[in-house]
Symmetry: C2
Subunit: 490 residues, 2 copies
Amino acid sequence: MSKGLTSKNDDYSQWYNEIVIKADLAEHSSVKGCMVIKPYGYSIWEKMQAVLDQKFKDTGHSNAYFPLFIPKSYFSKEAAHVEGFATECAVVTHYRLKNDGNGNIVVDETAKLEEELIVRPTSETIIWNTYKGWIESYRDLPLLINQWANVVRWEMRTRLFLRTTEFLWQEGHTAHATSQEAIEETERMLDVYADFSENWMAVPVVKGKKTANERFAGALETYCIEALMQDGKALQAGTSHFLGQNFAKAFDVKFTSKEGKLEHVWATSWGVSTRLMGALIMAHSDDAGLVLPPKLAPIQVVIVPIYKGDEDLQKISLFVDELIVKLKGIGISVKYDDRDSQRPGFKFAEYELKGVPIRLAIGGRDMENGTVELARRDTKEKSTVPQEGLDLYIANLLDEIQANIFNKALQFRNEHITEANSYEEFKSLLDDKTGFIAAHWDGTPETEKRIKDETKATIRCIPLNNKQEDGVCMVTGKPSTQRVLFARAY
Amino acid sequence: MSKGLTSKNDDYSQWYNEIVIKADLAEHSSVKGCMVIKPYGYSIWEKMQAVLDQKFKDTGHSNAYFPLFIPKSYFSKEAAHVEGFATECAVVTHYRLKNDGNGNIVVDETAKLEEELIVRPTSETIIWNTYKGWIESYRDLPLLINQWANVVRWEMRTRLFLRTTEFLWQEGHTAHATSQEAIEETERMLDVYADFSENWMAVPVVKGKKTANERFAGALETYCIEALMQDGKALQAGTSHFLGQNFAKAFDVKFTSKEGKLEHVWATSWGVSTRLMGALIMAHSDDAGLVLPPKLAPIQVVIVPIYKGDEDLQKISLFVDELIVKLKGIGISVKYDDRDSQRPGFKFAEYELKGVPIRLAIGGRDMENGTVELARRDTKEKSTVPQEGLDLYIANLLDEIQANIFNKALQFRNEHITEANSYEEFKSLLDDKTGFIAAHWDGTPETEKRIKDETKATIRCIPLNNKQEDGVCMVTGKPSTQRVLFARAY
């Protein structure tokens, strides 16, 4: 295994790409813009899925599955949605191939669809078209459904996990009797995402609302969680949308209220995707490779024997086998790498690259002394630890590592929120890659657009419970009552 | 909730459709041939997935994810695969829609793909194209990978779960250094499927090999498990393919052996799909609705209070709350349905229709007597059971129900394997819907095809460890050494 990652300070983008490839997380496929998620990367995604899925179920949601294809006409039904999604999509026009007689496979032109089908870029339209048949009365509400699925948005410039033509995600789609209930649901799911991001991914986030310009196509309000990467760019890690009655009206979904009135249903949708993998990688990793928070690490502890002969190895393995039983018994995932085809140094570098939180090395002398050598991936500290009580020591250490990774990211994030009081200062901070910039803005889409055009910075969010203070817009000088968070973003 | 299912003896096909719809398992979507899997149906599929996924991991496999799209040219690379799969496929030709200015969404003809993309009908080609980059040496083998995914095969005549244009499945794709290892893998995964079918789904299966005519396109050998439905038709419940070196040669995947020789890799693939839902429904259900084996039932026990006033209900609920804690503590899933909007009789019918294995009803007199009324879904027996020790009673009963459902299906299957010694007898047995027919056949594809054309019966499999006996082909009178299993099939 070749190591030698590009340093993140030299070329952050290259450093990221190399970690994704060299840590065996994902690779570009031969299909433009689509990725292959490799087993190690997928096993991290599976852990994310399991945690999120349980949280969705704990908050009353059920999973279901809706079609991959959406009839083209559905996109015309919700006006704002049209502009947002009926653009860069994969379009299915035919349903048969044939052999042309010379061994070439060609499209059978006689098998043309009457109406083209779009590979779902998001499923609001097909789902609300289905909900029409499911909702009649207030007794059918709330309808709390989630779907795990693949979606396709045709992207010209792609980056593994961060922006790919096909990606995996979950999309929640709920229906409610009142506006208030729908807003509560939107906020509840934002909290679920923030909890997941902070307490599992160890990535601190700012919860906030998007400006009108940045809202989901068809939403009345888009809530988001915004994370900060180590290069000072922001990453939107999850969104939760209050859709009002827009989709209910577009697809004619009404219910009879307790009072016997026929009313349109209120909607939300919310989602996170394999993009979270990008956030996880970029938030914590270093020049030696991936750094994984223990709660999402497929392998939490790796054990490498250092031995001279078979007798040495046998003695070590006997101890390790017992340790593995103990560790698994308390829910810790562990791998024993006793391959004889690779030297310990090679293995050390490999697990460092793959972000395994704790590495144990055990040699003949350790066996004599009743110790092991323990290396932490997060701090790179090595120590000699007694074999006695090692399982509980490791259990505590994993918690400590989880907390340490979060606190490090939190400190970095907090140190990278800067106030700007003039447009010049704002631009200079951006050039210095200082992270989030809190600045006054006059509240108009025009000013927001001008800032974006001139600086590539966008308003990431208006934080929830934002401090109110009098000020003037840094661009127009018009009055403003609060600072909003700007950043360049992924 | 309206009940009144069509009787399975009157119209089996209609009975099946009604159960799928009325038990809230799935429904047809507005996209031709695609289904919506509803929350209750999906929760059964999730239980299937969880069990299978664990079995795959226990046998050393990892999950990964490969692209939804396959370049058209890949289908030309493996000759036999071409004929089998490059036919009824969804073809993506464009990647953009646009607004025509009149509010209509139309395909942007300037955004035409140079090479069309096919929505995967199965992933051998894209995966083996990827494996080329993953395999260099014997150290990279075996490569044991599974994918959970959606696939699309354009079907003209569809039936919910049994045959849909889009369906969900898992596909295992493994690479090995030797033919022997690949064959062992093929057989191992067949055993996994058989174990799952019999011990979780409670559906007995015959393990066997397909004839050349019925093999997977590109396979040297297709193993299968065949189940018998209550109408005497067979259903292929899983397949495992030994692909030889066909895909390795088509995609140039070679490895350096221990001896330093460059050789093509040996391959297998194996899969089961949401079709299993159809098998599960058809194997056990009755005229009152779905019958679910406890191990796959999302709700194993439902509790319905029978009460006159709030005081009654409070007393009952106090007892039920404690019972639920106990049941959940021993891993039993339970639902307490204390809705006041429906009468007990309505609820009884609903849970019967949904196949919940055990129903408890508890009224005021039960509370006085320290009893509950317990109804088994499989036998429809009702009994009065003491509240004391109820949790363990239920745990044992669930095991008994699981065994009973399997044994009933096994007895049915065994009673529906009949030997035919002449073609006339064969045809008459088919007309009587007697299930599997064991008959001698001369081993030629021509005779097999003639039988299929004339009777719609196919050779379901040549059972593994088949009894060898001298005989003559029922059609041609040519010599035969064994009986093979025929049936009409789903």
